[in-house]
C-alpha cells in the first residue's frame, strides 16, 4: 500500500491509505520507553495531564474524607492538630494548584488543537516540559506530606505565619517551590494555547467561528499570563525572606504583611476565573449538541468572557475586606465584585435561551450541565452576599465561606468538567462511557454535594470557624457536622463510581465512531481516538458549526508535505493561510531540562548557591533542546 515517499512529497495526489501511512511515518510517537519519555504529541501529553490531575483530585478527596472523619463528632481525636493543619493545607493546595487549574489546561492541551483543526499544539516541546514540571511539583508536595513535612499554613500561606519567624523548618519552602513548579507549567501551557489559537486555526476559522471552549481557553490563558507572575513574585519574595534574610514581609524592618495578601489575591481572584472560564467554555460547547441547535448569543457570550477576564483583576481586595483598608477603596471593590455578576448573568441567560429554543436530549453530559446551573447559581448568590463588606466581616473565616467556595469550585468547575469528560471521553479513547452508570454518577454527585455543603452555610452562620481541627460538645454543631460527614462519604462513593466507569469504559465501552453525539465542531471530524497527525488533510471552515452545515462532506485543504511534520500558520483575524510550518519531532531534552530545573529549585531550598551551580545543567539542557537537529523540519 505504501507508495514511495520522495522528498517534498505533497498530500495532493495521494489516496487515503498511502496518505495515512506516510503521515504515520512522520507523526507517530516511537514505541517503547524512549518514545514515552520523548513524545511531543499533544494528545498523549494531554491524556497524561488529565489522568494525573484526576489522581490528584482523588488524593485530595481522601484528605477531605479524613477531615470530615475528624469533624464528624465534637472533640474527636482521629487527627492531631498538626496533622489537621497539614491536611487542610495540602487538600486546598492540591485541589487548586495540582487539580483545578492543570485539569482545565490539560483538557485544552488535548482539545484545542483538534477544535481549531491543526496537527499539534504550538511549541510541543514546551508542552512536554510543562507536564514534567507539573508532575514533579505534585510529587514534591505529596512526597513531603507523606514524610510529615507537608505545609501547614493554609493554601494561601499568609505571612507572618509562613514567614521565617513562625514557619520553622522546610514545610513552607516546599509549598513555595511547589508554586514555582506549577506556575512554570501553567504559564508554559498558557503561551502554547495563545499561540495555537491565534496562529494555527484552520483556514477560514475567523474570530467569529472559533468554538466557545477555545475562546474560553484563549481568555483564560491571557488571565494566566497576567495573574500568575504575581504569585511567582510573592513566593519568590517569601523564599528570599526565609532563605537569605530579606525583609519584604517583616514590619520591623520596613516590610509589610499585607503586601503578601495583595500579591497573592492579585493572582488568587483571577485564579477563580482561570478555573471557571474553561468550565463556561465547556458548557457553551457541549450544550448545543444536546439541544440540537447552535448556541444562542455567540457574540454576547464571547464578550461576557472577555469582560469577566478583565473585571477579574479588579476584585482581589474583596478577599481582604476585614483587613481595614480605606473606605473608598472598599466601596470600589464592592462595586466591581457586584459588577462581575453582570456578565455571569448574561451567560446564564444565553444558555437558558439555548435550551429553551432547542430540543433537549437528556444524556449524561447534559445532566451535569443542569447540575452546574443549580449549584453555580447558589454559589454566585452567596458570593454576592460576601461581596458586601458588613456581611463579610461577620462571615469571614467561617464555614459559610467554605460552603461558598466549594459551591463555586465544585458546582462551577467540577460538574462541567465531569460533563466534559463524559462528552469527550469517546474522542479520547474511542469508546463511550456508560450512559446508565453516568446517570447514577450525576445524580449521586449532585445530591450528595448539596447535602454535604449546604449545611456548611448554616454551620458558618452558627459561628463555626474554618480551619479548626475540633469543636466542643456544647457548641451544638455536632448534629449538622455528622450529617455533613456522612454525606461526604456518599459524595466520595459518587466519585468512585465515576472512576470505575472511566476505567471500565476505556477498555470495554461501546465503540464510539467519529462523531457519536452528532456534534458540530472539528474535533469530531476525525477518528476517535484521532490519529497521531489529527487530520489527514486540514479542514477548511465556512461557518461556526462546520459539521452541521456541510452535509457530510468535509471541505479540506491540500498541498502540505507528508515527508516532514508540517502544519499551517494562518492570520490572527481571518485565519487566512500564511505559511506551511514544521512542527518538532519527539525529543528527550524537555525531560532533561525539567530534571535540571528540578535540581536547581530543590537545591535552592537548602542553599542559595544551588541557583548558581544548578544553572549549569539547566543551560546545557536548554542548549540541547534548541540546537537544530538538521532534519527536514529544519528546511525552509
Amino acid at each position: 500500500m505504501s507508495a514511495r515517499i520522495q522528498d517534498d512529497q505533497r498530500d495532493t495526489d495521494l489516496a487515503d491509505a498511502p496518505l495515512d501511512a506516510a503521515l504515520r511515518r512522520v507523526w507517530d510517537t516511537p514505541r517503547g520507553v524512549w518514545g514515552a519519555l520523548a513524545t511531543v504529541d499533544h494528545k498523549v501529553i494531554g491524556r497524561r495531564y488529565i489522568a494525573t490531575a484526576f489522581v490528584f483530585l482523588a488524593f485530595g478527596g481522601v484528605l477531605a474524607l479524613l477531615m470530615r472523619w475528624q469533624l464528624a463528632r465534637p472533640e474527636s481525636r482521629v487527627l492531631t492538630p498538626d496533622l489537621y493543619n497539614q491536611i487542610f493545607t495540602v487538600h486546598g493546595t492540591s485541589m487548586m494548584f495540582l487539580f483545578a487549574v492543570p485539569v482545565m489546561e490539560a483538557m485544552a492541551v488535548y482539545l484545542v488543537p483538534l477544535m481549531v483543526g491543526t496537527r499539534n499544539i504550538a511549541f510541543p516541546r514546551l508542552n512536554a516540559f510543562s507536564y514534567w514540571m507539573y508532575l514533579v511539583g505534585g510529587i514534591l508536595l505529596w512526597g513531603a506530606f507523606l514524610v510529615d513535612m507537608g505545609p501547614d499554613i493554609g493554601w494561601f500561606a499568609y505571612v507572618p505565619l509562613a514567614g521565617p519567624q513562625y514557619g520553622a523548618g522546610k514545610r513552607v519552602d516546599i509549598w513555595a517551590q511547589m508554586i514555582t513548579f506549577t506556575e512554570i507549567s501553567a504559564l508554559a501551557v498558557a503561551v502554547e494555547i495563545v499561540v495555537t489559537v491565534l496562529k494555527q486555526r484552520a483556514p477560514g476559522m475567523s474570530l467569529d467561528r472559533i468554538p466557545l471552549f477555545v475562546w474560553a481557553m484563549l481568555v483564560t490563558s491571557f488571565i494566566i499570563i497576567m495573574a500568575m507572575p504575581a504569585v511567582m513574585v510573592a513566593s519568590t519574595a517569601l523564599i528570599l525572606d526565609r532563605l537569605v534574610g530579606t525583609h519584604f514581609f517583616n514590619p520591623a524592618e520596613g516590610g509589610d504583611v499585607l503586601l503578601w495578601q495583595h500579591l497573592f489575591w492579585f493572582f488568587g481572584h483571577p485564579e477563580v476565573y482561570i478555573i471557571f472560564l474553561p468550565a463556561v467554555g465547556m458548557i457553551s460547547s457541549i450544550l448545543p449538541t444536546f439541544v440540537r441547535r447552535p448556541i444562542f448569543g455567540y457574540l454576547p457570550l464571547v464578550l461576557a468572557m472577555v469582560s469577566v477576564g478583565i473585571l477579574s483583576f479588579g476584585l482581589w481586595v474583596h478577599h481582604m475586606f476585614t483587613t481595614g483598608l480605606p473606605r473608598l477603596g472598599e466601596s470600589f471593590f464592592t462595586a466591581s465584585s457586584m459588577a462581575i455578576a453582570l456578565p455571569s448573568g448574561i451567560q446564564i441567560f444565553c444558555w437558558l435561551a439555548t435550551i429553551w429554543y432547542g430540543r433537549p436530549v437528556y444524556r449524561t453530559p447534559f445532566l451535569f450541565i443542569l447540575a452546574f446551573f443549580f449549584t453555580f447559581i447558589m454559589g454566585g448568590m452567596t458570593g454576592v452576599m460576601v461581596a458586601s463588606v458588613p456581611l463579610d466581616t461577620q462571615l469571614h473565616d467561617s464555614y459559610f465561606v467554605v460552603a461558598h467556595f466549594h459551591y463555586v469550585l465544585v458546582g462551577g468547575a467540577v460538574f462541567p468538567l465531569l460533563g466534559g469528560v463524559y462528552y469527550w471521553f469517546p474522542k479520547f479513547t474511542g469508546r463511550m462511557m456508560s450512559e446508565r452508570v453516568g446517570k447514577w454518577v450525576a445524580g449521586l454527585l449532585f445530591a450528595a454535594f448539596n447535602f454535604t455543603f449546604f449545611p456548611m452555610h448554616v454551620l458558618g452562620l452558627l459561628g463555626m470557624p474554618r480551619r479548626v481541627y475540633t469543636y466542643q460538645l456544647d457548641m451544638g454543631w455536632g448534629g449538622l457536622n455528622l450529617f455533613v460527614s456522612l454525606s461526604a462519604v456518599v459524595l466520595a462513593a459518587g466519585f468512585l463510581l465515576f472512576f470505575y466507569d472511566a476505567v471500565r469504559s476505556a477498555r470495554h465501552g461501546e465503540p464510539a465512531g467519529d462523531n457519536p453525539w452528532g456534534a458540530a465542531t472539528l474535533e469530531w471530524a476525525t477518528a476517535s481516538p484521532p490519529p497521531s497527525y489529527n487530520f489527514a488533510r486540514l479542514p477548511v471552515v465556512r461557518s461556526a458549526n462546520p459539521l452541521w452545515e456541510d452535509d457530510g462532506v468535509l471541505p479540506v485543504a491540500g498541498g502540505l508535505r507528508v515527508d516532514r511534520r508540517e502544519l499551517l500558520v494562518t492570520t490572527v483575524g481571518g485565519a487566512l493561510p500564511e505559511a506551511r510550518e514544521s512542527s518538532p519531532r519527539p525529543t528527550i531534552w524537555p525531560l532533561w531540562s525539567a530534571l535540571a530545573t528540578t535540581a536547581l529549585l530543590l537545591g535552592s531550598i537548602l542553599t542559595p548557591w544551588a541557583v548558581v551551580w544548578g544553572a549549569v545543567p539547566v543551560t546545557i539542557a536548554l542548549i540541547g533542546w534548541f540546537w537544530p537537529g538538521g532534519r527536514k523540519e529544519e528546511e525552509s
Binding site: K199, G254, P628
Partner: protein, 200 residues
C-alpha cells in the same frame, strides 16, 4: 468523513517569518509575562516606599555612576541591535555573524558594570525592606540580561556552523534582537525607579 479539497496550500512558504512565525508570537507572550513581573516588582517597591516614613530606609540614595553607565551602555547597544535585526531580515550571513559578536560584547559589558552597580546601592538585601526591594529589582533585571546574553552566545556559535544559512536562523536572530530591545526598554522604568524615587 468524505473530503473535498477546496484550498491548495502548495505555494505557501515553508516557514513563516515575522508575525507569521510562531516563535515571534511565543517571544511576545513571554515578554508579556516578564513585563508583568517587572511591573509587579516596581509596584512592590512603590508600595513599600509609600509605607515607610523615610525612603530609602537608613541608606543614602544609590550613587548615580555605575547605574547610569549601565543605562548608557544598554541604550548604545540598541544601535547595533537594530542593525543586526536588519541584517538578519536581509539574510546577510556575514554581517549577522559580525553583528552577533558585537552584541555579545554589548551584552557582556553592562553585566560587568552591574557588579559595581550592586555595590553602589550602598545597602544590603538583608538590612531592611528597602534593601530587599532594590536587590530583587536589580537582581531580576540582571537575570534577564544574563539569559539573553547566553542566548546571544549560543546563537553566535550556531551562526558559525552548517546550520547557519537558513531563514529559520535569521528569524531566531530577529526574535533575539526584539527580546534585547525589550530587556533595554524594561530597564528604563526600573532605572527611573531605583535612582529617581529616593531623590524625590
Amino acid at each position: 468523513m468524505k473530503q473535498d479539497v477546496v484550498v491548495d496550500l502548495s505555494d505557501l512558504p515553508m516557514n513563516g517569518s515575522g508575525t507569521a512565525s510562531l516563535t515571534w508570537w511565543g517571544t511576545v507572550a513571554f515578554m508579556l509575562i516578564e513585563g508583568t513581573g517587572f511591573a509587579l516588582m516596581i509596584s512592590v517597591y512603590l508600595y513599600l516606599g509609600s509605607l515607610a516614613p523615610a525612603w530609602p530606609i537608613e541608606a543614602p540614595p544609590p550613587e548615580w555612576g555605575p547605574g547610569t553607565g549601565v543605562t548608557l551602555l544598554l541604550l548604545a547597544s540598541l544601535v547595533p541591535n537594530v542593525l543586526l535585526s536588519r541584517w538578519a531580515a536581509a539574510r546577510d550571513l556575514r554581517k549577522v555573524r559580525a553583528g552577533l559578536l558585537i552584541m555579545a560584547v554589548f551584552g557582556t559589558a553592562p553585566l560587568v558594570l552591574r557588579v559595581w552597580e550592586f555595590m553602589a546601592l550602598d545597602v544590603s538585601w538583608d538590612s531592611n525592606a528597602y534593601g530587599s526591594a532594590v536587590w530583587m529589582l536589580l537582581g531580576l533585571h540582571t537575570t534577564h540580561i544574563l539569559t539573553d546574553l547566553l542566548e546571544t552566545y549560543v546563537l553566535a556559535a550556531l551562526m558559525f556552523t552548517r546550520h547557519a544559512d537558513n531563514p529559520r536562523r535569521f528569524g531566531d536572530v530577529q526574535d533575539g534582537a526584539m527580546y534585547w530591545n525589550f530587556v533595554v526598554l524594561t530597564w528604563l522604568p526600573i532605572y527611573a525607579c531605583l535612582y529617581g524615587i529616593p531623590r524625590l
